[in-house]
Symmetry: C2
Subunit: 362 residues, 2 copies
């Protein structure tokens, strides 16, 4: 079966250049060549994360780092902000790690707002907060800047922020936000193959972690810090991913970070315009639409056109494109179009053209 161009919200399409780097002949992970590789990319990673600290590479998908962050930081109780499938799951994972956890829950499609968090943190019960910046399941981007500004009011609360589907899509300046953990995965807007987690942590988070006795080894922040200082990783790294990352960092800085953010904003706007032209409404609350993907309402809430998504998926597939049909409890009642990664006006216009043709056949 021939390849289907991916327009699902991750994994996304991988370029031939990236794949070539992914298949660089193998090197030893304790040798100079690996240290040189990690050392070479560290400054660019720091520039992308906007941090003076070290950026860590985890041989895992982002969930590993999401779970690891809980194991490193929660001593008292974690507040899990829930607004979609992935943020909801984080609450479940907190409990599965044996941590005391509470939820701050809004309807799917709504963002998490600072006032809600402020009210909860004011109780003094929590030492950790988890936030999914861009809920991939609902296409909602919560206002991270405003939320992060609460950190100064609650310095003892560790702010863990998942940016799996917003990293390199919008500006997320780690140091100036003042948050404690910023984590992402490789297979979304970075347009790398899945299998690598990237993250950075604050000094306060490293200090907190050092006092948590059952944080383990595999995701231990202190081990990542100790090893990264020598341009190594605690466990055997996925070396292919790191070569691919080097190649992708070249692409990103060649394009320019600002240009990359602008491109994602433009392509997301094009997608929203396409939806409006076709009488669809959007699932996210107005003003909180993601720039990485567009979640289109298809009956999940009132208003707008309703179509047979499964049938549309099939027709689009016949045209060589893989599109999403909604996720979790809003499967079928929404569908999502991704513009993450290397997409351009041209590739998005091709997607819209295919969709337009297929809609006529429904």
């Amino acid at each position: 079966m021939s390849h289907l161009k991916l327009h699902i919200p991750g994994p996304v399409e991988i370029s031939q250049k990236t794949f070539k780097a992914f298949s660089t002949p193998m090197v030893g992970h304790r040798g100079q060549k690996f240290k040189d590789l990690y050392g070479r990319i560290q400054p660019r990673l720091q520039k992308l994360f906007k941090t003076q600290g070290l950026v860590y590479l985890s041989t895992s998908s982002a969930w590993g780092v999401m779970e690891g962050s809980l194991r490193n930081l929660v001593k008292k109780k974690v507040l899990n902000c829930m607004c979609g499938a992935f943020s909801d799951k984080w609450f479940d994972v907190s409990q599965r790690c044996g941590k005391e956890a509470d939820s701050l829950k809004v309807d799917w499609g709504s963002p998490i707002l600072p006032a809600m968090i402020d009210e909860k943190l004011a109780t003094g019960q929590y030492d950790v907060l988890t936030l999914v910046h861009n809920e991939t399941s609902t296409g909602v981007m919560s206002p991270l800047g405003d939320i992060a500004s609460l950190k100064s009011k609650y310095p003892e609360v560790m702010f863990i922020v998942d940016t799996v589907s917003s990293f390199s899509v919008v500006d997320i300046p780690f140091d100036s936000l003042g948050i404690d953990v910023l984590l992402t995965g490789s297979q979304k807007a970075l347009a790398l193959p899945p299998g690598l987690g990237l993250f950075t942590v604050s000094k306060a988070a490293l200090e907190r972690a050092s006092t948590v006795n059952d944080r383990g080894y595999y995701f231990d922040f202190c081990e990542f810090e100790k090893n990264a200082a020598k341009s190594m990783t605690p466990s055997t790294p996925s070396i292919g991913h790191i070569y691919a990352l080097e190649s992708k960092l070249e692409d990103i800085f060649e394009e320019g970070i600002q240009n990359r953010w602008d491109r994602h904003a433009d392509l997301a706007q094009m997608t929203r315009d396409w939806a409006a032209r076709n009488d669809f409404t959007l699932f996210p609350e107005k003003g909180y639409e993601s720039n990485a993907l567009t979640c289109i309402n298809n009956g999940a809430k009132a208003g707008g056109r309703i179509i047979d998504v499964a049938k549309l998926q099939g027709l689009v597939k016949d045209q060589g494109i893989m599109m999403d049909g909604g996720y979790g409890k809003i499967k079928g009642a929404t569908f999502r179009l991704s513009n993450m990664g290397d997409e351009t006006e041209e590739t998005m216009n091709h997607l819209f053209q295919v969709l337009d043709e297929c809609l006529k056949k429904l």
Copy 2:
């Protein structure tokens, strides 16, 4: 800098065929194409693990599964068998996970023997045992068959066996051994890029795991089982690794498993013969030498020739080969030659020829 052929004990050299599969255009991990891929390789994985159960694919290096196994299974106390750097570290990791742990420790170079384990387990203190089958740091292979036969005497003890550097080197029949966890990594004898953990677990281990409340999510055995039953993984998998694994399974079954074991035995014997010809002694206790790699004594214990290993490494590197210079506390006092993966008589003879020439220059 040009590529150095790897003869270190992992990562090992990757074939062009494997790299091609590694770079297969991306597919969605919740879609039919991924399920078809995992479904296609599952029977071959089961044949290789010699199990009727499901084989799980973890987006991590082996250490993730090693730690995860502790988090899934230890309720009372774990006995960590220690005979080298990696098995020693497992004891440390047990403690870092907040588990009660004891060590069964032998000198590096010696194997773990059944009688030692029997004596410890007879105390009734333990509900989990960890064993590194092939200690990559010392080149010692402990007698897994004899050790596993203790399982019938201690059915309530979960036997976790790391076969990182022995998997596909020697026969390790999971079901008939009767052990509870068999885990390995991609970058050793499977000759895949690093970044994938492979494992299978017994029904008893799944049952035990289901009663452990803080086992987490990322390495949760029950989640792996539930997802693998639908040919999926709990978290986003490293899809490239799984395509590469499919390609490597083709290679393995084309060669024949028995032929693969025989080849590794022959190449290891050639390496031991090379050492003897050059007046070196071996570090492992006689009768427990690994078939995956040869750990050569260079002053770590009495007897045999002693050379400047760092200098030899440099000379060998000039000839385009990366060799090991010993690991951990026996660095420099041993060195290791790997014959894992796709090595042949021809490639090993080339290594020996280069070593012979370089030894003359010391």
